[in-house]
């Protein structure tokens, strides 16, 4: 209010006053301001408590023999004991193998599907918005609904897939989720259905960013569809590709599908490392949070190493 009433007046003093005023005004916006801390306080309080603290605590926990049932063991540091134990733990090693199989099956298939769909969608002039909507739809559904739904789809007797197979004359359709060989790929297929949407959108953004001029120039030079893809789209999508791979590395720690559908069965053929650590932490007797945190750290370090390698590759 005072600023407004002072704004009148002419001559030199008026000029000085208005100069000062504009400086003050800028200062009001730009200068140091304790109120800023107040504005970020609620967000920071939440973020520090529930997001930053667990990073450090989780890391420290990996080097303890913390069993939740015995609170005294909270700070029982045992150095690298957990990691040594893990290497000697047959079940953990088997689970790591299953996790790796899952990652190697799901990630490449999913990325190829996403790339193919993105190229297809980028080609159509009308209806692209609808296809984008459809493609991302599975990603918003609750994960439990998705896997339970696929559980019904895979149902041995009345499941959609087996009913259709019987209608086509296949006498003994497989028991998808009950078979030791088939359970993991079956879950993986459902997982691909769930998560392929986001990579598709990322690839699509990448292709849109390349711009239609480049494609027009390429087609004037006589490049056919495949050549355009091979020499234009693919190289320019390399960074997107790297980003997608890195975003999907958490597949190595996959736990939710198994937790929801069959808890690692049949005969532990789908007990991934993620599920194994979850069971160690929250289901087995004395809740071995320390050991579980160590396994989790191993998963994190391996993922980070792969991510680093992929980023170096994409920079080349």
């Amino acid at each position: 209010m005072t600023a407004q009433s002072e704004s009148g007046g002419g001559g030199l003093f008026g000029a000085i006053r208005s100069y000062r005023q504009s400086r003050d005004r800028q200062a009001a916006v730009r200068k140091s301001n304790l109120l800023g801390y107040l504005f970020i306080a609620p967000a920071m309080a939440l973020y520090l408590t529930f997001n930053v603290w667990p990073i450090f605590r989780g890391f420290a926990m990996a080097f303890t023999d913390y069993r939740f049932v015995y609170p005294d063991t909270r700070w029982d540091f045992n150095g690298f004991g957990n990691f040594v134990k893990m290497v000697g733990d047959r079940r953990a090693m088997d689970a790591a193998g299953i996790s790796l199989k899952y990652l190697v099956f799901v990630a490449p298939a999913m990325i190829l599907i996403a790339l193919f769909l993105a190229v297809l969608i980028s080609k159509v002039k009308r209806g692209a918005a609808f296809y984008r909507w459809v493609v991302y739809l599975p990603a918003v559904l609750p994960v439990a609904v998705i896997f339970l739904m696929f559980g019904e789809m895979y149902g041995f007797q009345f499941g959609f897939i087996n009913t259709v197979l019987r209608d086509w004359g296949i006498e003994n359709p497989p028991n998808w989720l009950g078979d030791r060989e088939l359970a993991l790929p079956s879950i993986g297929a459902a997982h691909i259905w769930m998560i392929f949407g986001f990579p598709t959108l990322l690839f699509l953004i990448g292709i849109y960013n390349i711009g239609s001029e480049m494609y027009e120039a390429a087609s004037l030079d006589g490049a056919n569809g495949w050549q355009q893809f091979r020499f234009l789209t693919a190289p320019l999508l390399k960074p997107t590709f790297a980003l997608i791979v890195v975003l999907n590395l958490p597949l190595f720690g996959v736990v939710e599908p198994m937790l929801i559908l069959n808890n690692g069965g049949p005969a532990n053929s789908t007990r991934t490392l993620g599920l194994y650590l979850y069971q160690q932490a929250f289901e087995v007797g004395d809740l071995r949070l320390g050991y579980a945190a160590a396994i989790s750290l191993v998963i994190g370090v391996i993922s980070a190493l792969i991510a680093g390698l992929i980023f170096r590759w994409s920079r080349q």
Binding site: A43, V124, P142, A294
Partner: protein
């Protein structure tokens, strides 16, 4: 691409070629992206297939399901599954209510906190501002090794396990992306409006609340939508933190009320009228309905939120 259509009119030979019906057909196919559309229609069908089947199955009674379980259009419609769901499953309304409280609470807190913080990071100058902001963004990419275990300990210590309130705080804390989007939104607003408000003697709070915030409302809608859907769909954190029915959400509780695992508790009234799988399908559909509706209504915001986040990083 469009090249074939463009070459017309070069010469007589070309004109003759373009006059042939085969060429016109091919040109039409190219122009309308016919083959791409066919392939994409196929993909659309595959993507929607499980949902279509679930929807169809929810209208099948016991006889229809056992004889015609794969049909995507039932030969006779029945509402018995819906009757069973609404009458016999006592826990369903409780789960639903909890889900709405949780997702709604998180949405509210997250929109408010990220708006406040985003405004401070965009407009106010205080010591360490940029450092704090960058630290938040970087910390997003630090893997949360042992995070779930640490959270379990933390929530137990704070006596917030089995508490919807605790879970709201926990989910609302996932703020970095929201803060980033809000800061971006405030930065894109011209500063003059706010400056003239300061001249008129408005306080920071007043300027933020009445001038800047309404101009950033689309970013708030994006954040709120993503938060609501994300929290509604969560499984593992809720499953770990809540083990009482009274506080459970639908996305976790759904597994408990499925008829295939609930056979003994079937009410006598519905026995032999419906198939367990069909009743399950109904409940799965019902529990996902809110996010499907939001996704259908908020399509534009979703795509903007996802692409903005993706491009700017």
């Amino acid at each position: 691409m469009a090249s074939d259509a463009d070459t017309s009119g070069i010469g007589r030979q070309a004109a003759e070629m373009t006059d042939s019906p085969m060429f016109r057909l091919r040109a039409w196919l190219r122009q309308t992206d016919f083959f791409s559309h066919v392939l994409l229609a196929l993909v659309t069908f595959i993507v929607l297939l499980p949902l279509l089947w679930i929807i169809a199955t929810s209208f099948k009674d016991r006889l229809e399901f056992s004889t015609n379980s794969a049909a995507l259009i039932p030969s006779s419609f029945s509402l018995v599954n819906y009757q069973y769901m609404f009458e016999a499953i006592q826990l369903l309304p409780i789960y639903m209510r909890n889900s709405f409280i949780l997702a709604g609470g998180v949405t509210l807190i997250q929109v408010l906190c990220s708006a406040l913080a985003g405004y401070a990071f965009a407009r106010m100058r205080f010591w360490g501002r940029d450092f704090i902001f960058i630290a938040i963004i970087v910390s997003m990419f630090v893997p949360r090794a042992g995070g779930l275990m640490a959270l379990y300990e933390l929530m137990s210590f704070l006596k917030l396990r089995n508490s919807l309130f605790g879970l709201i705080l926990l989910f609302a804390a996932g703020l970095p992306a929201a803060i980033f989007i809000m800061r971006q939104a405030f930065l894109s607003i011209p500063q003059e409006v706010e400056e003239s408000a300061f001249i008129d003697g408005a306080s920071w709070w007043h300027t933020f609340w009445y001038i800047a915030l309404p101009l950033a409302s689309s970013a708030m809608v994006i954040i709120g939508t993503l938060a609501f859907v994300g929290v509604w769909s969560d499984y593992i954190i809720t499953y770990t933190m809540i083990d009482r029915d009274a506080q459970l959400t639908i996305s976790v509780g759904i597994k408990k009320v499925l008829a295939t695992s609930y056979e003994s508790a079937l009410s006598p009234r519905f026995r032999n009228q419906f198939a367990g799988e069909a009743a399950d399908a109904t409940m799965l559909l019902f529990s996902a309905l809110p996010v499907i509706i939001i996704y259908a209504l908020m399509q534009k915001w979703f795509m903007r939120g996802l692409t903005e986040g993706a491009i700017k990083f």
